[in-house]
Symmetry: C2
Subunit: 225 residues, 2 copies
């Protein structure tokens, strides 16, 4: 923002490597999410973070190293906070999934636009670009699925009766969320999250049960952004 006064030579500099690294990661996480990896130039990132080329290069020698740090430190923790912790705290895997879907849908609707799932956004762009990217992203998907499967397994043991295979249920939950977010991002409408949750909870069978289903109102005006 502003530097030293004009007349006084306040050339005092305070090193703050952790803070500077954090600012770069903040900006990179945001830009990768909004514009993607290839569309985010490090020049833009430098300007947005207020960081010089030397400083950025000191902390992240290459753009790839920066992206890897974003994936491992930010995307992973976003999945952890949004999905893994809530599911572990929920009464059951099924209920945890429902709560996350509803929480995300509500957040997107109040926010008014959809930028998509950070993990899926980067996974689509980078999985085939570099094996290191791919492995880092695959690990996050794996942890995500595992957390849901663990919860479902615990449910099964507590309830005594076995339902669907926990691993399969976890794969389904992650897939539905990922795909619904893709559609929500493209349509800029979070309503599809509710549609999918609704279908999931009704048994996912198109013609197996008569009964009441209700249509939910979409709060977002289509066509915005």
């Amino acid at each position: 923002m502003n530097d030293s006064p004009t007349t006084t030579r306040s050339r005092k500099r305070t090193n703050d490597p952790e803070g500077m690294r954090k600012r770069v990661l903040d900006v990179a996480e945001e830009s990768f999410q909004a514009r993607g990896y290839h569309a985010s130039s490090i020049g833009d990132l430098m300007a947005a973070a207020g960081v010089t080329g030397g400083a950025l290069h000191h902390h992240f020698p290459t753009k790839k190293a920066l992206a890897l740090a974003v994936i491992e430190e930010r995307v992973a923790s976003a999945v952890e906070e949004t999905w893994i912790a809530p599911v572990q705290l929920a009464g059951s895997a099924r209920e945890g999934v429902r709560m996350v879907f509803e929480a995300v849908a509500a957040e997107l609707e109040s926010q008014g636009f959809v930028r998509g799932c950070p993990l899926n956004n980067l996974a689509h762009e980078l999985s085939l670009a570099d094996p290191e990217f791919r492995m880092a992203l695959a690990g996050i998907f794996s942890a995500w699925r595992q957390a849901i499967a663990d919860k479902a397994r615990a449910d099964r043991q507590a309830g005594g009766d076995g339902g669907i295979d926990p691993e399969h249920f976890a794969a389904l939950a992650v897939a539905v969320y990922s795909g619904a977010m893709a559609m929500a991002k493209t349509a800029q409408d979070a309503g599809v999250l509710r549609d999918c949750l609704n279908a999931l909870e009704q048994g996912a069978s198109p013609a197996s049960r008569g009964g009441a289903k209700r249509r939910r109102r979409v709060l977002l005006r289509p066509g915005t952004l």
Copy 2:
């Protein structure tokens, strides 16, 4: 190389605007799928298609115009051939979905690698980049969902018995496929497609508690076409 009747050394050029346009679209479709939009340079595309800059610029003035053509002419028809037509020909929406999942899984397994869903790949990278991209991609998602919903609606009328809302079922099917393909691409393993299909067909319920809930009977016998 003596196919020309005249032995003059005048290099005859034959204009083939449609063929040249097709070659460019072929190469662009392939590269956008494998590397993405931003990672595909038009220089690479020119070399791969054997086309000069002037010719490429004549047919596609900008890279954006080329991508829009790929989306509208290639991605849309890929979804049509892979999903819409098979679902319409299937015995039911549910069965059509199952057949597509299995066909894609089998193809990916024999192929040995996973490049992902063309629509989702471009949707993730381009939906937020440009409103024209976003609308073109949203239209394909919409047609995809609509085809499945129409089929499910027809099933319901034919069967008399009403199940889940056809629109919701369609959203779920597209979401599960999209998300499963994202995971398959990142893991480079198509097995998750089978996991998700398995979970879908078992009712998507992770555990039933103490016999309070019974597995729902599905109207359709397996194996009918």
